[in-house]
Amino acid sequence: MASSLHRFANPNRFMRLSGAVLPWAAVITAILFPIGLYLALFASPPDYQQGETVRIMYVHVPAAWMALFVYTTMAVASAVALIWRHPVADIAARAASPLGAGFTFIALATGALWGQPMWGTWWVWDARLTSVLILFFLYLGHMALFDAFDDPTKGARAAAILALVGAVNVPIIHYSVEWWNTLHQPASILRDGGPSIAASMLWPLFIMAFAFKAYFVTFLLVRMRSDITAAKLRALRRTQVEGAGMSAATPAAAEADRA
């Protein structure tokens, strides 16, 4: 039976590589998070102005960094997928966007929780927070577009085009929002981290940032591997259908994997 797993859609090499990297990434994540949390909650001093609420920064800032980092990775993966038609790059972009959306949501929620004690309102239209909010919509758009297609390969290509168009717009949106913010509100109060940040506060920030990155790599690989397993599953379903009779494969095969 001719294998319908065409040589492009059979990225075993990636599965071997990710199989090797995955345990290491998981171990690093497991080590970094406790250290980061310990430093953030216990070992670092409260801020003279903000008091204990500064500890929220150790979660808010890394999440905001990750939100942008993941979108950039997705844009690069999408470019590789579109230009060189590399299936693994498609899968990487698809696997990354829910994680990116998660980081963005964390950044927004912790931003609001940080803002409340400082200014008494849950949401302040600060330039950075607004940019992260718009980034959140870009993530939702990317995921929604991918899910709208029955055929995952077409969905991945459409989402890749959207990710590229989005990537071109992210800086434009960021600077327009900055400009809009200065137009309506002279000084932006929330300065993430601020220039004069004590060394004792830098350590927890960087440890937590690396912990977030390790987490991202770990679960990006986990999601990519399960996407590839799902692709093999779909291919097998098709041979099952074609084996059973010459009727064209029903889109149901695609539904099976996206559940």
Binding site: A2, S4, H6, F8, A9, D151, P152, T153, K154, A231, R234, A235, R238, E242, M246, S247, A248, A249
Partner: protein
Amino acid sequence: MRGERLVFEDISFSIKQGEALVLRGPNGSGKTTFLRLIAGLLRREAGHLSWRGTDVAEDPEAWRAELCFVGHLDGIKSLFTVAENVSFWARLAGKGDLRIGEALDRFGLADLSDVPARFLSAGQRRRVGLARLVAAPVPVWLLDEPTVSLDVESVATLAGVMKEHRAAGGLIIAATHADLNLDDVKTLALGSRQAS
């Protein structure tokens, strides 16, 4: 490949001026995919397609100027009249309006030319779709089930038009179940499991 489904692999063919290639094969064997691939609507995973010796990918626009694709749908706007529909596609192909009258006559649409397309029957709409072949003469015809919803008399007209096209040096690749009583026809069987 169509999305993730491998439709067919290592198929090769070549046809010369005046020849016709008919695609045979059960449903889902990729006849439409094959035609769309040649037209350039689909990306091919491997292999190449050359026209008069040069690879089609080098100048896709020039290749598209050489072909006329008739698919399942006829691309007819119900708001436009028959003449407006045919003349738009002729002008889009850069051929202008000079052969519109002839095209309409050939397919018996002359007296319907100012009728808005929404009143047409399926057979008439198909004939308007086919009129493009005459209105915008190009060497290569890619026909996907051209005789669908045509009455016997129109099928004969189509066969006549195809014969003239081949006599004038054109060539045809058609996917069809109906026998178009064409003589010396090459056939290519597409069954994704038997082929290769």
